[in-house]
Symmetry: C2
Subunit: 228 residues, 2 copies
């Protein structure tokens, strides 16, 4: 409750201003959170554990974050922003769309293998914590999907199919991480690539059919009765 922000211009400490120190502590906490959450899992981690890993005390935790969930969000945002930036760079080169997508996927799996704790945070720990977290997660996956479609020169693909493809890639990554990167990276990337090329092919077929909606499905194939 004692923050005369404008009255006292804040003292310098260890060569940096109050603002700088705050930001540095915040960063330390985020890095520590990625490490701790990635190793123990978010739900098994305590505020104290994160603070210890950051070399700070609880006081500075609450200086920057209202609660653990806020720190998780911030950590997740940090990881995904860096990752998406790296992926965009990987996809920038010229060449066939297929090759550019492959480059992005390889970069993606390399990043996961290079930072397994971040990978776990990105893929596992975020899921199912709260409604807001789920939305954040879905949003970042959406960005991932759009990046892929850009590379494939698809303008308005089927959102459902995009969701399915991205989900498949994510799940593949999850599997790979869970098995400690047992399979060769190339094999994983190749499987992911086959998935990613699906929307392009589907677009061709739909183009021939003419319509956007998947024609009417043969409903008589649907087992009609008791769905309980």
């Amino acid at each position: 409750m004692n923050e005369p922000a404008s009255l006292e211009p804040a003292r310098r400490y260890r060569g940096s201003s109050a603002e700088e120190r705050r930001r540095r502590r915040r960063e330390q906490l985020i890095l520590a959170a990625i490490q701790v959450y990635g190793e123990r899992g978010y739900r098994n981690s305590t505020v104290k554990a994160v603070c210890d890993a950051a070399g700070l005390t609880e006081r500075y935790f609450y200086e920057s974050f209202a609660n653990s969930e806020a720190l998780l969000v911030a950590s997740y945002r940090g990881v995904t922003q860096r990752l998406l930036k790296a992926l965009r760079e990987a996809g920038e080169g010229s060449g066939r769309p297929e090759d550019r997508v492959r480059a992005v996927l390889v970069r993606y799996f390399e990043a996961l293998r290079g930072e397994p704790r971040s990978a776990r945070l990105f893929l596992v720990e975020i899921a199912g914590v709260s409604a807001e977290l789920d939305r954040v997660f879905a949003a970042s996956l959406g960005e991932f999907g759009l990046l892929l479609e850009e590379l494939l020169d698809i303008e308005a693909g089927d959102p459902m199919l995009r969701t399915a493809v991205v989900g498949g890639v994510i799940h593949l990554a999850l599997h790979w991480v869970a098995r400690d990167f047992a399979e060769p990276l190339d094999a994983v990337a190749e499987a992911a690539l086959q998935l990613c090329l699906l929307p392009a092919g589907a677009l061709d077929k739909e183009g021939l059919r003419g319509g956007r909606s998947p024609a009417k499905l043969p409903e008589q194939l649907v087992p009609g009765g008791g769905s309980s």
Copy 2:
């Protein structure tokens, strides 16, 4: 500590034996768990909440389960066994593989929509709770993938691609559940079907190529340096 199991043959109560009563209570707890975990989420649920929903007291919880996680496993097994059985039935008819897979998928999404709480338990709550739970989850997804491959008459498909396809379907389901089944079922099933038909197509191509390994990837596309 007072269970003279063989000395006292156990008294009958309300027309059923001690064994029957135990099993019934266990079932009640599992049903209540599906409901409670599916609504509040596993991590936000307490032992007491499950017992209240089951109309039993904590004592009977610990009679049948060592802890919450054991109940979660049991509930999950119950849900998945019923679901997989229903899916096998849906795929039994004769017809083109594609149509049979479609029937299975439609049945799958119908089941999810029909039991949203089970769906949530099956898709969300199970993930990331513990290492054992993750293994149980992966195993049931594996069964799902094998079922699909059976229907497509694929004998030894690429495990990686199978993982990716099943993951895509699961993620599609997840998305659908999270958005309260907003999209029409047919659209979701159709997107899933496109994914599921991918292994058959890939098999053809690989057959033409001849080799199992995906040829050598153009490694120069991989951005070599700093992965940090």
